[in-house]
């Protein structure tokens, strides 16, 4: 019974994930696209929970759906009507090529999956209940992966400085 419930939750989350993904790509108003991406990130967080990645699910909602998307919505609001993204334009050949390329990517992954199916893909390792908890993630992050941790902090610092530099208006450009 519990297993059926997990499958139901999985199908709802996966369906919501793909549906909102299509919405992000197809909507013409970037504001609605950004809102759809928040739904996409939230349903992905549910999938993360099913994969016993509790800390990452929380980080996904806090960092992505919270901080990053709010920043995005502020920029869309700042741009106002200029942000509208109509579908029109673009050479039809380019469009066809894009669809073929995306389909090729998908077919490749599905074929590789089909070839590997049944072996290692269906025998997950046994893990303790604390797998993916903040305590375990924190411990491994600050011991085995300390370098990655420090580099991440530098990346974020550089991005923050870059964002400020890009957003600063110089005097002579004011009247442009």
């Amino acid at each position: 019974m519990g297993n059926v419930l997990v499958w139901v939750i999985w199908f709802v989350a996966a369906g919501a994930c793909l549906g909102t993904g299509v919405a992000v790509v197809s909507l013409t108003n970037p504001f609605y696209s950004a809102l759809a991406l928040i739904g996409n990130l939230a349903s992905l967080a549910v999938l993360f929970l099913l994969l016993s990645a509790e800390f990452l699910a929380a980080a996904q909602v806090l960092v992505y759906a919270g901080a990053v998307m709010v920043m995005f919505l502020f920029v869309v609001a700042y741009l106002g009507g200029r942000a509208d993204a109509p579908w029109a334009g673009g050479p039809p050949l380019l469009r066809a090529a894009a669809i073929v390329a995306a389909a090729a990517l998908l077919v490749e992954v599905v074929v590789v999956l089909g070839l590997a199916w049944g072996d290692e893909l269906t025998s997950p390792a046994d893990v303790s209940t604390s797998f993916g908890s903040p305590a375990e993630i924190g411990e491994i992050f600050l011991t085995d992966h300390l370098l990655a941790f420090e580099i991440t902090s530098i990346v974020l610092l550089v991005a923050a400085v870059g964002g400020v530099v890009l957003g600063t208006t110089r005097e002579k450009e004011e009247g442009a």
Partner: protein, 102 residues
């Protein structure tokens, strides 16, 4: 683990990555291109976490956290560029933005 095997997650992830790639290639608004990039990064995150669970090894989750941090940095820079483009009265169209020189 209860519920679907890792293969099911990989299928969802592959479709999601395809959707994101389609968005990056088809749409011309830099805002929507950035959003589609986020979808692609998250599809990769889903695979990392699925394999991390399947192998019983937390390294994949650490990698996914690093990807999240890089994605946040990328959005900060990308939005900065879009605001700078809007300030200079440039068209918000990735097909027309083909010169690095401001």
């Amino acid at each position: 683990m209860a519920g679907p095997d890792v293969g099911w997650y990989l299928i969802v992830s592959a479709i999601l990555f395809g959707i994101g790639a389609l968005g990056v290639m088809l749409r011309r608004s830099p805002l929507v291109v950035l959003l589609s990039l986020e979808i692609m990064l998250n599809a990769a995150n889903l695979i990392l976490i699925a394999f991390s669970r399947q192998q019983g090894n937390l390294d994949g989750q650490i990698f996914a956290l690093a990807v999240m941090a890089v994605a946040a940095a990328e959005v900060a820079i990308g939005l900065g560029l879009i605001v700078a483009m809007a300030r200079r009265r440039l068209a918000l169209d990735v097909d027309q933005a083909d010169a690095l020189r401001g």
